[in-house]
Structure formats: structure tokens, C-alpha cells
């Protein structure tokens, strides 16, 4: 057994090396997992605004959105060790977590409330970007917005109702009066086009 130990150790060492290289850019999350409060504050400063934006868009209530942000960062503190790079970059992971919590709250509301929200859904007016916003963040927003704007209007609205209003396909169909099959097709086609635009042309 010891005869193969050399090569065995070599490939294990390589495994460690590759793992570290893969996770290097997510160092801040790794530090949180080790109980570093300053790292959590860094993540909050960097990504709290994104979490708030998505929660506010879905819930439409500052108080509830702030509760979602609080829950999200407490969850990050508790579960940072479970972060995996394939779940996306830290900002996308945090935004996804915040969106998921916001949707959970949304779905605790009654169906009637959600139907009314859908009928009233119009993307709210944009706030001013924070002064600290980076050029990369501006560029990212432009790219995602351009991809959304390139969709046919009905596909864009259906995807926006699903993603930014947190509604299910059935809720969208009920609220808009469209056939469920039409809603499904719009979501599928819209997301295929978004994937083409956002993934294959990623800088």
C-alpha cells in the first residue's frame, strides 16, 4: 500500500491546490464561516444593498424587506460554510437567498393579495444609484437590463412577474387572464433568450 502512497499524496495535494484556487475569490465568505464578524460586515456593506433591492421589489414594503435582509445575513453567518461556488458568485448567492426568503413571505399572504399585486405590478421607479457604486456594477446592470429589454414585451413582463414579483406561473395566468400554457411558453422562451444573452456573452 505504501508503494502507491507517493502518487496518492501528490494527487491529493493537487486536489487541495485546485480547491483553494477555485474558492480564493470567495475568501470573504470563507472568513465568515470561520466566525469573522468583520468579514460579515464587509459582505453586508458590499451585498446588503442588492439583497434589500430584490426583497423590496418582491414585497413592496421597506419594513418587511429589511426583515428579509436581516434574516438573510443571519443565515449567511450561520451557513457560510455551506457556500459553494457553483451556486454563483457571493453577490448572486446572497441575492438568491434574499429573494427566496422574500418569496416565502410573499406566499404566506393570501392568493387575493397576490392577484391584486400582480394587476398593479409595474416596475417601481429606480432610486438613485448609491454614490459608492462601482463601474463594474453599473456595467452589470446595463448588461442585464439590455438582455431583458431585448425580449418581446409579453415575455419580458412574464419573466419579470415571476422573478421580480415572485409569482408562480399559475398566479401569473390567473392575474393576467392568459392561458397557463401561454405563460409557461413565455417563461421558457424568455429564459432561453436571457441565458443566450447573459451566459454566452459573459465578459
Amino acid at each position: 500500500m505504501a508503494d502507491r502512497a507517493g502518487s496518492f499524496t501528490l494527487v491529493h495535494a493537487l486536489w487541495f491546490l485546485l480547491a483553494a484556487a477555485a474558492l480564493g475569490v470567495e475568501e470573504v465568505i470563507a472568513r465568515i464561516a470561520r466566525g469573522d464578524r468583520a468579514a460579515l460586515r464587509s459582505a453586508y456593506d458590499a451585498f446588503g444593498g442588492r439583497a434589500m433591492a430584490i426583497a423590496l421589489r418582491i414585497l413592496g414594503s421597506v419594513q418587511e424587506a429589511e426583515e428579509v435582509v436581516q434574516d438573510t445575513f443571519i443565515e449567511i453567518w450561520r451557513r457560510a460554510a455551506e457556500y459553494r461556488r457553483e451556486r454563483g458568485t457571493p453577490d448572486a448567492w446572497i441575492a438568491t437567498m434574499a429573494r427566496s426568503r422574500a418569496i416565502d413571505r410573499l406566499r404566506e399572504r393570501t392568493r387575493a393579495e397576490n392577484t391584486l399585486r400582480t394587476l398593479a405590478f409595474e416596475p417601481p421607479r429606480d432610486p438613485e444609484p448609491p454614490p459608492s457604486e462601482s463601474a463594474a456594477r453599473r456595467q452589470e446592470r446595463s448588461r442585464v437590463r439590455a438582455a431583458l429589454a431585448a425580449l418581446p414585451a409579453e415575455q419580458r413582463r412574464t419573466v419579470e412577474l415571476a422573478y421580480f414579483a415572485g409569482l408562480t406561473q399559475s398566479e401569473i395566468a390567473r392575474a393576467t387572464g392568459e392561458a397557463l400554457g401561454t405563460v409557461k411558453t413565455r417563461i421558457r422562451l424568455g429564459m432561453e433568450k436571457l441565458a443566450d444573452a447573459l451566459l454566452e456573452a459573459r465578459p
Partner: protein
């Protein structure tokens, strides 16, 4: 649910826009041990796109009271120490190994490589004089030699400026992970995993999914495993047309009988 039906719903699943029953049915289909027709890949692509959508919003800083509440909560609650798992400790150990090697001090690995060569030679000599045992040793030696050689190539690839390390996501409940190091021109990829144990009736096969909607996965060879550590050299021919994603499937011994992946267990989306 059929694969075609699943793929119709994948985008809505990625957006969390399915009703509970439909979501459960879709998840159950994904976990089925059947020959899927690109279900995991379709979902992974939709999820990757969905993750980017929040980027359309303008960040809205929460009020100060939110951080104060978080700050008040955390002293009494330590993070969960998932680092205590094997994978976690592997990554923690990786930091120290990588720190040494990436700083250009590859002494430890080089000495391990030399030790491996010496030990390999010793096994070879013993194998030459021990009948059946020798043949068994020789087979294992061949496997170890391949993986050891590939490991050295992966290190060289990693040291090239512009090379990337890409993680694989487990599919269909597969319990493990893998990484691949990708050359700057994406014409060479080497997979490394501790999760792909060899078995008497099973092999793991590498696949390249070329760019373009509906592209057919291209076989890229079999994973070589020794002592529970597996490496896979994606055949350059399979990467010649470029790659949108890399995948690993579980197959009968010798590889897929159909020319298509039987059960995809790991996928890495490379993007454009």
C-alpha cells in the same frame, strides 16, 4: 414526467415559479436514475441565467437598524462548522498548500512527485517477481502512474497564466464534487475528484457539451481512478469545437453503450 416535459418546466423551476406539486414532481424527475435527455444541463443553464437577474436592480442600502439587529444577534450564535466535514477540511488544508505552491515554492509537491516515482519503481520491481500479485500490482501501478502523470500535467496547466479552475455541481442527488483545471485557450481540461470511486461494474465517463442550443454531448474519455482519487483528461478532440459545459456520467464498465451519457452525475457550466 418525461424529460421533454421537465425541460419545458426547467426555466420556471429555476425562477421558483412552479406550484408546490409541480415543483415536487419536477424535482423527483431530476432525481430519477434514468437516462436523462439533458434535464440537469437545461436546469443548470436556466438557474445560471436566473442568478444574474438581480443585477438589473439598483442597490438599495437598508437602514442602519438592520445591521444593528444583525450585530446584536451574532455574538451568541457561532457559525455552523461545516468545515469539520472532510470537504471543508480539504479546502482549509488547500489554503496552506496553495499558499506554498502558488507562491512559486513547489518544493513539497516536487519532492512528493520524486517520492512517487521512486515508490512506483519499487512496486514495479516487486510486481515483476510475484506472479498473480505482480499482475494485480502492475494494474494498480498503471492506474497510479496515469493519475500521477496527469496530476503533474494539471499542476503545469494551473501554473499557466490565464488558466481557470471550474467546480462541478453534483446532479440527481450524487454525493460528491469535482474540479477541473482549464487551459487559457480552453482546449485542455483535466478533472480531479475524490468522489468518483472505481467499481467492478461501473466507469465514469467525461463529456463535453459544445456551445449552441441542443448541442449533443461529445464523449471525452473515461476517468482514471486510483486509491479513491480520480483524474480525467478531457480528450483534446472533444474540446476542439469549444465547450459550453463539461460533465461526468456514471456508465457501465467500458463506457456508454449508446454514445450518450447514461446518468449525469457532475456538471460544470463554463459559459461563453
Amino acid at each position: 414526467m418525461t424529460c421533454a416535459e421537465f425541460k419545458e418546466l426547467a426555466a420556471a423551476l429555476a425562477l421558483d415559479a412552479l406550484d408546490p406539486d409541480e415543483r415536487a414532481t419536477a424535482r423527483a424527475h431530476l432525481a430519477e436514475s434514468i437516462t436523462h435527455e439533458g434535464c440537469a444541463e437545461t436546469l443548470a443553464r436556466a438557474e445560471a441565467a436566473a442568478r444574474l437577474l438581480s443585477g438589473a436592480l439598483i442597490d438599495t442600502p437598508p437602514s442602519d437598524r438592520v445591521w444593528r439587529s444583525i450585530e446584536a444577534w451574532i455574538p451568541a450564535h457561532a457559525p455552523r462548522r461545516r468545515w469539520a466535514t472532510a470537504a471543508g477540511w480539504a479546502v482549509a488544508a488547500a489554503a496552506s498548500v496553495a499558499g506554498v505552491i502558488l507562491a512559486g515554492r513547489g518544493i513539497r509537491l516536487r519532492s512528493e512527485r520524486d517520492a512517487a516515482r521512486a515508490q512506483t519503481a519499487a512496486v514495479e520491481a516487486r510486481a515483476a517477481s510475484s506472479g498473480d500479485l505482480a499482475r494485480q500490482c502492475a494494474a494498480q501501478l498503471e492506474s497510479a502512474r496515469k493519475t500521477s502523470g496527469l496530476a503533474r500535467e494539471a499542476i503545469a496547466l494551473l501554473q499557466q497564466p490565464g488558466s481557470r479552475v471550474v467546480p462541478f455541481a453534483p446532479q440527481g442527488g450524487f454525493g460528491g464534487a469535482a474540479l477541473a483545471v482549464l487551459s487559457p485557450d480552453r482546449r485542455r481540461a483535466i478533472l480531479l475528484s475524490t468522489a468518483l470511486s472505481p467499481a467492478a461494474a461501473r466507469d465514469y465517463q467525461l463529456w463535453v457539451i459544445p456551445p449552441g442550443r441542443g448541442a449533443t454531448p461529445v464523449s471525452a474519455g473515461l476517468v482514471e481512478a486510483a486509491e479513491g482519487v480520480a483524474l480525467g483528461d478531457f480528450q483534446p478532440g472533444a474540446l476542439a469545437r469549444g465547450a459550453f459545459a463539461l460533465a461526468v456520467s456514471a456508465e457501465p464498465k467500458g463506457g456508454s453503450r449508446t454514445g450518450a451519457p447514461t446518468q449525469v452525475v457532475l456538471v460544470a457550466a463554463l459559459g461563453g
